[in-house]
């Protein structure tokens, strides 16, 4: 397929995934923040501050007034601010621009769903949203819209190279963002003292699972027991949960192999293969504590290198 089209589909996949990630994180963070702000304000505050580490953005201004809930500035900045490169508004607009530039490579259903979701979001941005409940409403409907887009892709796209590049963008973005979320959240969680407030302690672990869209899948494996020594390996190594690092790396490996079509391993394939091997084939006990800062750092870096490698190989020809 055309390199330019592959490039646009890849970025469309990335931006759609990023939009979903930001939307989900805003909903989850707004939850924990309203749950804990009276109880342990610093937990609520740091939950919002973590967002800045996951989406390195300088676009979130101070609250409009001293009485406004902290959440408002973050919600407005990460949802509706068109100038913030990590807002849902920005990401979805870029996804749509990429889609528009390769419309002939998409199905009508995908373009329709994307267009509708974006227009609804634009309307919110134009009118503005006044309080956290209205943000929640709007975010929920954007979230649904994003799933409609992904569903339309799933159901109508032909499984050709275009599909693979779109999915590749989605998988890479997901792994990258998961690693950043873990990197931002785990140190605080590891330092937290369970005995101080057991309920609050578990709320934070539950929130981590929700932030990674994995709570229900985790419960299916381990029930309601939220032990850190179970949660971390689950998020890293579960073979079936679509947001575990292992699942993501296997998806990327598979997509890269199919794109290469049985030819010699490409640079991106070698990078991802090594990371996947290190994640899956190390000692169990090491794996249990494997989410240390150095390893997560390596995941983040490898994703960056893999992106550069496949750009050079497929998009700049």
């Amino acid at each position: 397929m055309l390199s330019r089209v592959a490039d646009a589909l890849y970025w469309m996949g990335r931006y759609l995934e990023r939009s979903e990630n930001i939307t989900r994180l805003l909903l989850v963070t707004e939850d924990i923040s309203s749950e804990t702000q009276g109880l342990a304000e610093q937990v609520a505050q740091s939950a919002w501050k973590d967002l800045l580490a996951i989406f390195p953005s300088s676009h979130v201004g101070p609250p409009a007034s001293a009485f406004a809930p902290t959440s408002m500035a973050y919600l407005a900045g990460f949802y509706l601010d068109a100038g913030n490169p990590y807002s849902v508004h920005y990401s979805l607009r870029r996804a749509r621009e990429n889609a528009r530039s390769v419309r002939e490579a998409l199905t009508v259903e995908v373009f329709l769903a994307l267009n509708e979701t974006f227009r609804a979001l634009e309307a919110h941005a134009r009118r503005g949203l006044v309080d956290p409940p209205s943000f929640r409403d709007a975010l929920t409907s954007t979230h649904k819209g994003l799933f409609t887009i992904v569903g339309a892709i799933e159901h109508t796209f032909t499984r050709d190279q275009g599909w693979l590049f779109l999915k590749l963008g989605e998988s890479l973005e997901r792994i990258y963002r998961t690693a950043l979320i873990l990197r931002a959240k785990l140190p605080g969680l590891a330092a937290a003292e369970p005995r101080a407030d057991v309920a609050l302690y578990y709320t934070q672990w539950r929130t981590l699972l929700r932030a990674l869209g994995s709570l229900e899948n985790y419960r299916r494996s381990y029930g309601a027991r939220l032990e850190p020594e179970l949660v971390v390996p689950f998020l890293l190594l579960d073979p079936h949960s679509p947001r575990s690092l292992r699942y993501g790396l296997e998806a990327v490996k598979d997509q890269l192999e199919r794109i290469a079509g049985g030819r010699e391993p490409t640079a991106a394939m070698r990078l991802i293969g090594r990371l996947h091997a290190d994640l899956c084939y190390q000692d169990q006990r090491v794996a249990a504590t494997g989410a240390d800062a150095a390893f997560l750092e390596r995941v983040v870096e490898t994703m960056g290198h893999a992106h550069d490698a496949l750009t050079a190989q497929y998009f700049v020809t």
């Binding site: 329709l112 497929y314 020809t317």
Partner: protein, 478 residues
């Protein structure tokens, strides 16, 4: 239901006694059966459908965002079978002659030697590409896709107003308008044998592939677009999708050893036919405009070698020039030895001394156009202009008479159009699309554009026009 009658022009739907013409009777009675609320509801559906599908075009020089929807009026324009037969025959005749004319201009220039048309008029046009003299396109076809604008005067006669031989646009709206009307007003279709137009993308692809040099080896056709910011981008993308071919930009293409390739994720792949929706001046910076970033360096070389077909052929624009238009009846006679089947508007050519004198003295009653521009830009509508505007235009005119032509103001026919709760007469024209492949085929119907401002004659989408679905009825008993 309120119907406002037309007072001056030919009314497509009603006769002089304000009774519906026979082919409009079923439609009028169907429309009468709707309530205002119901129409309002359907209109909302229609609008949502347009916006959600992103059926948009770009208006140059307007600030409010890049995309706007092309206003659609739901009252269809109906052309009976017998009228269409005449139009179709006239168009086939005209396109045959246009193609012969272009071929002649780039080969032996017999028509110039025989003084059917002044040589200086043809050879001085910027659309005449001297570089292409004696370059023969595959199968001698220059005008693969022609969009000819037709109007109807106050006596109801169809007249050709303009030929578009370069990259006529609008066909995507023709197809989408039909889809839209089917969805929003399915009732309209129950009492009419409307000829289908769905086949167009297949016919277009056949037409393109017919020109390919490697006809037996799965030739590859692409649509070449200037990109997402072009006003007709929606259409480029629509046609590529409907034909199942790649939509490429200049930067996707590369020339190597006199062949054309596109850059793909699997390396380079050969291209045989370009359906170019890029102005020819931007096709190849080595041959035409040097600063063009849209083009493909070396493309014209590949074309000269016969290794790529370009539709429409570069240089074809010499035939849709507004001054050349004045000579079309003579050219039809010259090449085909036939009388033109369709009339056209009398035209004064600034280059001819007598014509110029007439133009100068009658500016206030003429429509004056420059020969290069399209889209209703830079024209003078004498009967509607102020004294000051006319004087300013006269100043321009004197400097380069050869660049201007003038025509009497022709009353465009009018058609009932839904405006704020009643059916009002609005001026319309018609752009049928003609494909020149193994045979010449005319898409039954075409784009009916409508001037949405009361009394306005300007139907261009860039100047506040809208469009209608256009029905050609199947002959009785077929």
């Amino acid at each position: 239901m309120k119907w406002v009658p037309e007072t001056t022009a030919y009314d497509e739907a009603f006769d002089r006694s304000a009774a519906p013409r026979s082919h409009y009777r079923p439609l009028v009675s169907t429309l009468e059966s709707f309530t205002l609320t119901e129409i309002a509801r359907r209109e909302r559906l229609q609008k949502i459908s347009l916006v959600d599908q992103g059926i948009t075009f770009t208006v140059y020089g307007e600030k409010d965002g890049l995309e706007r929807i092309f206003p659609f009026d739901f009252v269809p324009r109906i052309i009976p079978a017998r009228e269409w037969e005449r139009i179709e025959a006239g168009l086939i005749q005209r396109v045959t002659a246009l193609n012969l004319f272009i071929a002649d201009v780039y080969q032996d220039q017999k028509c110039l030697k025989d003084k059917v048309i002044p040589a200086e008029l043809v050879l001085s046009r910027k659309e005449y590409k001297r570089e292409l003299l004696r370059v023969t396109p595959p199968r001698q076809i220059y005008t693969h896709v022609v969009g000819t604008d037709i109007i109807r005067n106050d006596r109801g006669e169809f007249l050709i107003l303009e030929d578009n031989c370069r990259c006529p646009s609008g066909v995507s709206y023709v197809l989408e308008n039909r889809n839209l009307l089917h969805r929003v007003f399915p009732e309209f279709f129950t009492r009419y044998p409307v000829r289908s137009i769905r086949d167009y993308p297949r016919l277009l692809l056949d037409t393109l592939l017919w020109s390919a040099s490697r006809a037996s080896e799965n030739p590859v056709a692409v649509v070449l677009t200037p990109g997402i910011h072009n006003s007709a981008y929606f259409e480029h993308s629509f046609l590529a999708r409907e034909m199942g071919v790649f939509l490429v930009e200049g930067r996707d293409l590369i020339v190597e050893d006199s062949y054309l390739y596109m850059r793909t994720t699997d390396g380079r792949q050969r291209v045989d036919v370009i359906y170019r929706r890029v102005d020819e001046d931007f096709l190849d910076p080595l041959t035409f405009r040097r600063t063009s970033l849209l083009g493909v360096p070396g493309l014209m070389n590949v074309y000269r070698e016969g290794n790529v077909a370009i539709a429409n052929a570069p240089g074809a624009g010499v035939a849709d020039d507004k001054a050349v238009y004045a000579y079309m009846p003579a050219l039809i006679k010259y090449y085909l030895d036939q009388e033109p089947l369709l009339g056209q508007v009398p035209t004064y050519v600034g280059l001819r001394k007598d014509d110029f004198a007439y133009m100068r003295d009658h500016l206030a009653s003429l429509v004056v156009k420059t020969t290069g521009d399209s889209g209703g830009y830079n024209m003078l509508m004498g009967p509607f202009a102020t004294r000051k505007e006319i004087d300013a235009y006269a100043g321009q005119l004197k400097k380069a008479p050869g660049n201007y032509i003038a025509q009497p103001l022709v009353e465009l026919s009018s058609h009932p159009t839904w405006v704020d709760g009643s059916f009002e007469p609005r001026r319309i024209d018609l752009r049928p699309f003609i494909l020149y492949g193994e045979t010449i085929r005319v898409l039954p119907g075409g784009l009916t554009r409508v001037a949405l401002r009361p009394g306005s004659y300007v139907v261009n989408s860039s100047q506040g026009g809208g469009s209608k679905d256009t029905w050609v009825l199947a002959p009785r008993g077929s």
